[in-house]
């Protein structure tokens, strides 16, 4: 349901086999799929069962149920009423009158005997129409999905920003209420410094969000990316401190992808591995392995590790792990944005960590 169907399925309806074969031969083309029915009833069954039918070529003169009756039934059913119909008819006087009844909706007719060029051209027009419709449908679904994601995003942010504000407002209220000077100088100082910390945290949060929204708007073109070169460039620009050793342990692929996004993921994971590392000789390893239609990348560090109960939390907005929260510049926005970036591409991101040995962050990226 995520990609518009490139195939164009045509249901051919005629009580005479030889006509069906002739029509199929005439219209055969790449990406066209044909379904054939030799009666009105059969045609209705196909139309109800198959969701991909884009056009019905309907012979008018058939025994039992004629083409007009079939069309009327199709138009009254919610599931089939939007399917385009081309009547194939000799157009005598009576039929001309009947055709008027189908003025509305995507209905057209072809006159027997069929002219090859006219028939092909008409079907082509309907095919284009169908494909535009499919694209529109797909776009609408995509937009709805993005909208929901945004709503959720806004809700989480608004909610999580309240936490530091609650502390600030509470502390300031206590200071304000303390008219008798009951609070010790030390306590007053503590409330003030806590409030300041919480305010700085909020400011960091806002910066991270602005950064994120700028990155979402930034160029999103697909280009060839040599991951090896990209990682080396990132590491070079991070100016790693001398106690940090960085190693690429496997061959890295060349990808056709949105470079900025992949770069952001690597950059954050590598700089986190440096930032939170508490060892005198920090080691960071980066590698990759193929997994079906995905590459699985990993960034391994020998830092403090992450407690098991935080393995999922760290990817949520404004949640940081215990050891992370002590660092000034940790706002908890980074990893949740990485999660969005990775999931947008159809992959997953997760962490595996043994507190004594450090952490390994894995993420998947489409080939």
């Amino acid at each position: 349901m995520l990609n518009p169907n490139r195939d164009f399925t045509i249901l051919l309806v005629d009580d005479r086999e030889e006509n069906l074969l002739a029509l199929e031969e005439m219209l055969a083309d790449e990406n066209r799929v044909f379904i054939k029915a030799t009666s009105g009833n059969q045609a209705l069954r196909h139309a109800l069962r198959n969701d991909n039918i884009g056009l019905i070529m309907l012979d008018v003169q058939m025994p039992e149920m004629d083409g007009f009756e079939v069309a009327r039934l199709l138009k009254t059913n919610q599931k089939t009423k939007h399917i385009s119909i081309i009547f194939v008819t000799a157009i005598n006087k009576e039929e001309h009158y009947m055709l008027k009844g189908f003025d509305e909706g995507a209905v057209d007719y072809l006159q027997k005997p069929l002219d090859i060029n006219v028939t092909k051209a008409k079907v082509k027009v309907f095919q284009h129409l169908y494909q535009y419709q499919q694209e529109l449908k797909y776009t609408a679904i995509e937009l709805r999905r993005i909208n929901q994601q945004l709503e959720k995003f806004a809700f989480i942010i608004a909610h999580d920003m309240k936490s530091p504000l609650t502390g600030i407002i509470g502390a300031l209220s206590l200071l304000e209420m303390d008219e008798d000077g009951e609070l010790s100088a030390e306590e007053c100082k503590e409330y003030i410094s806590h409030s300041k910390e919480a305010a700085l945290y909020l400011a960091n949060m806002i910066n991270a969000l602005l950064d994120y929204s700028r990155k979402s708007l930034a160029e999103q073109t697909v280009e060839e990316v040599n991951v090896q070169d990209m990682v080396e460039e990132i590491v070079h620009n991070l100016f790693l401190p001398p106690h940090v050793t960085f190693k690429i342990t496997t061959a890295l692929p060349i990808l056709w992808t949105k470079k900025l996004k992949l770069q952001q993921v690597f950059q954050n994971l590598i700089s986190n591995a440096v930032k939170y590392n508490n060892k005198p000789d920090a080691t960071i390893e980066l590698g990759c392995q193929e997994k079906g239609d995905l590459y699985e990348f990993y960034v391994r560090d020998n830092g403090p590790g992450i407690p098991f109960q935080d393995h999922e939390n760290i990817f949520k907005f404004f949640r940081t792990s215990i050891n992370m929260a002590t660092s000034e510049s940790s706002t908890g926005v980074g990893l949740s944005i990485l999660k969005i970036l990775v999931e947008e591409q159809g992959g997953k991101i997760w962490v595996d960590s043994d507190s004594s040995l450090g952490s390994v962050f894995y993420f998947e990226w489409k080939k």
Partner: protein
């Protein structure tokens, strides 16, 4: 002042915990815990608690689960519970009250209001 009420605060944020303690300590005996599990074990050890003031979003036993656990326990099912949460939508409020909370306050809060609510709930429960 020997008959002061015992307030149990359950809140995972250290700073907010401190502010709450400060807001209530002049009028109540205050104990604080960082999640529902710790709060439950404090209760089960037989410590005196007259009212619980709890956050909703906490690791391990969260606020809603804490309400359920307390209301399901024969010992503590009548213990007054006040929610103090950043969620201010009516769905969450209704859900909590239906689960058995006695009152619901939102963050950011006014310390005087927290104190007044605790007193009001105590007045009703005695």
């Amino acid at each position: 002042m020997t008959n002061r009420y015992n307030v149990l605060i359950v809140e995972d944020d250290a700073f907010i915990r401190k502010v709450l303690r400060q807001s209530l300590k002049n009028d109540f005996e205050v104990t604080t815990h960082i999640n529902g599990i710790e709060a439950m074990s404090w209760l089960e050890q037989g410590n005196p608690v007259d009212v619980i003031l709890t956050d909703l979003q906490m690791p391990y036993l969260n606020g809603q689960d804490l309400i359920k656990t307390i209301r399901a326990s024969p010992m503590f099912k009548n213990l007054p519970i006040i929610i103090l949460s950043t969620y201010d939508d009516s769905n969450t409020r209704i859900a909590c009250l239906e689960l058995g909370a006695d009152d619901y306050m939102t963050k950011p809060f006014n310390p005087l209001e927290v104190k007044a609510k605790v007193l009001a709930v105590m007045r009703r429960s005695k």
